[in-house]
């Protein structure tokens, strides 16, 4: 692992090609991904966005449970589990991994409010031209939540 501010390719941190150590860590050890056949996962909601022709595609799957909010006493829909798959670059893998961590345990409404900027700041920044990769994960999650709501 490269610890210094200068990446292996010699570019200084902040130039468009450099990934932060957090991005690299999520890329090397992605959280909540699903390996292999996704039909075996019992998803309550599923969303897929992107296009392989453009070089990236993301699938988000969520399991939802109803829980009583101890403060309000109202029942809320909570994201119990998230699994994802992606055909994409390092940025797509890292940002989807980060998003899955952020979304877990949140209500559907607050999960929908996770912004691309929030994912980016969780990762300590993304190269400028890679920003759309984190937007894509965000869109896939929104689409999975919509899918859940359409069926429940």
């Amino acid at each position: 692992m490269i610890k210094s501010k200068t990446a292996a390719n010699g570019f200084a941190a902040g130039t468009p090609w450099v990934y932060t150590d957090i991005v690299k860590e999520h890329f090397l050890n992605p959280r909540n991904f699903l390996m292999g056949d996704e039909t075996k996962y019992q998803a309550d909601g599923k969303g897929i966005v992107g296009n392989p022709i453009c070089g990236d595609q993301m699938l988000m799957m969520i399991q939802v449970e109803a829980k009583k909010n101890p403060k309000t006493g109202k029942k809320e829909s909570i994201i119990k589990d998230v699994k994802w798959k992606t055909y994409g670059c390092a940025s797509a893998i890292a940002s989807t991994s980060a998003l899955s961590e952020l979304a877990k345990g949140k209500t559907l409404d607050s999960a929908l409010k996770i912004s691309a900027e929030e994912i980016e700041s969780y990762l300590g920044g993304l190269p400028k031209h890679k920003f759309h990769c984190s937007v894509l994960g965000h869109e896939a999650l929104a689409s999975a939540i919509q899918d859940y709501r359409n069926h429940h």
Binding site: D56, Q57, H129
Partner: protein, 382 residues
């Protein structure tokens, strides 16, 4: 580190470094008419001789430039406003500058990257170009074009011929007389010389317009103070290529390594395909694609986990969001381009480099295929 990105740039040869260090002690502007100026100019002319010898040209036919991109731009600038024919797999410095400056028609290529002669003949007679530009060895997939025959056909139709030999130089024999081309692009840092220097071979009597004007340097063919240090490094690298007969080293030592890697990849990496036409390619380039796995991710895992450095044709690596124009021209399939990795070997490459790739690559590709939203052919058959 396992360096398999020689087509991007090569490490500086010790002899080139030595020549550059020596040139740093030459204080004069090579254009000056005093003794230090003469000494610098002598060193430059020695370098020019070495470069000319390497490609069997006359030293006066060599014009120094800042590199391959400038040489290519110089050629398209000579033919500004004219009809030109360019292959679809040229380097962007040729392809894009031809489109901007000239009336350019693109010659399609076959899946191997080779030009189909019938299509080419047809385009020659249909467009009557003033210039044809087809590269000698492709930088991404390594395809070697039959420049000798293509140039002959161009000449028969009244067109002049340029070839970009940036990647071919030092890897295969490059002989301007035998190829019978009118212009030829050369770059220093692909043969162990420094970055920032290249040359254009201009056959005696060929039309010429300088790209950079405002100085008498290079017989008024390229203005700008002589880069004595870089030129000396380039000259030393050219001399090395000629004396060591590097094309023979590439044929005997490097090609078998490249072919071994191709064989191992097909045997050990699932759903791999080879984009390089192995029998008709530069001896050091191997371009592969891996179904459902994205190239930039493969490249970065190889780098971070295996300290193996390569290149990819995926859009995510290109900077402009578009996948490799070369693989799009050969395969017409964005997934092949996004999933591509280029391994490029050099004089220092060894068998252990190949073994290292095979140690890491199969697992990386399998993992990426496992988390991919795309199906491999195997999944579809299930």
């Amino acid at each position: 580190m396992v360096y398999l990105d020689y087509s991007a740039t090569t490490p500086l040869l010790p002899c080139a470094k030595k020549a550059m260090l020596k040139a740093m002690d030459l204080p004069g502007n090579a254009s000056s008419l005093h003794t230090p100026g003469h000494l610098a100019m002598n060193a430059i002319e020695d370098a020019r001789d070495n470069i000319a010898n390497l490609i069997n040209a006359d030293p006066q036919e060599i014009v120094f430039t800042s590199g391959g991109s400038e040489s290519n731009n110089t050629v398209t600038n000579i033919f500004a406003g004219e009809k030109v024919l360019v292959s679809a797999i040229e380097h962007p410095s040729l392809l894009e500058s031809a489109k901007v400056r000239c009336k350019a028609t693109t010659i399609p290529v076959q899946k191997s990257g080779e030009i189909d002669f019938a299509t080419y003949q047809n385009l020659l007679s249909k467009t009557s170009p003033k210039l044809v530009s087809i590269m000698l060895g492709n930088n991404e997939i390594g395809t070697i074009e039959n420049v000798k025959k293509l140039a002959k056909l161009a000449h028969q139709s009244g067109a002049l011929f340029h070839t970009d030999a940036t990647q071919a130089l030092g890897k295969i024999l490059v002989d301007v007389k035998s190829l019978d081309v009118d212009y030829l692009t050369l770059s220093s840092h692909k043969i162990g010389g420094p970055i920032g220097i290249g040359a254009l071979y201009v056959k005696k009597g060929s039309p010429f317009t300088p790209l950079i004007i405002g100085g008498h340097q290079e017989k008024s063919r390229r203005a700008g103070t002589y880069q004595t240090i870089n030129i000396c490094g380039f000259g030393a690298a050219a001399q090395y290529a000629l004396q060591k007969n590097t094309p023979q080293i590439f044929a005997q030592k490097i090609r078998p390594l490249r072919d071994l890697l191709a064989k191992e990849i097909l045997a050990k990496v699932p759903f791999a395909s080879i984009n390089t036409p192995l029998k008709n390619s530069l001896p050091n380039i191997l371009n592969c694609s891996f179904e459902a796995a994205e190239g930039e991710s493969i490249q970065l895992y190889l780098d971070l986990e295996g300290k193996i450095v390569t290149s990819t044709g995926s859009a995510c690596a290109s900077g402009d969001g578009k996948p490799s124009h070369v693989l799009m021209a050969t395969h017409h399939d964005a997934e092949v381009a996004h999933a591509s990795v280029r391994f490029s070997f050099g004089l220092e490459s060894t068998k252990s480099d190949v073994q290292n790739v095979i140690k890491y690559l199969p697992d990386i590709v399998k993992r990426l295929q496992g988390i991919s939203t795309l199906k491999t052919k195997g999944d579809q058959n299930d």
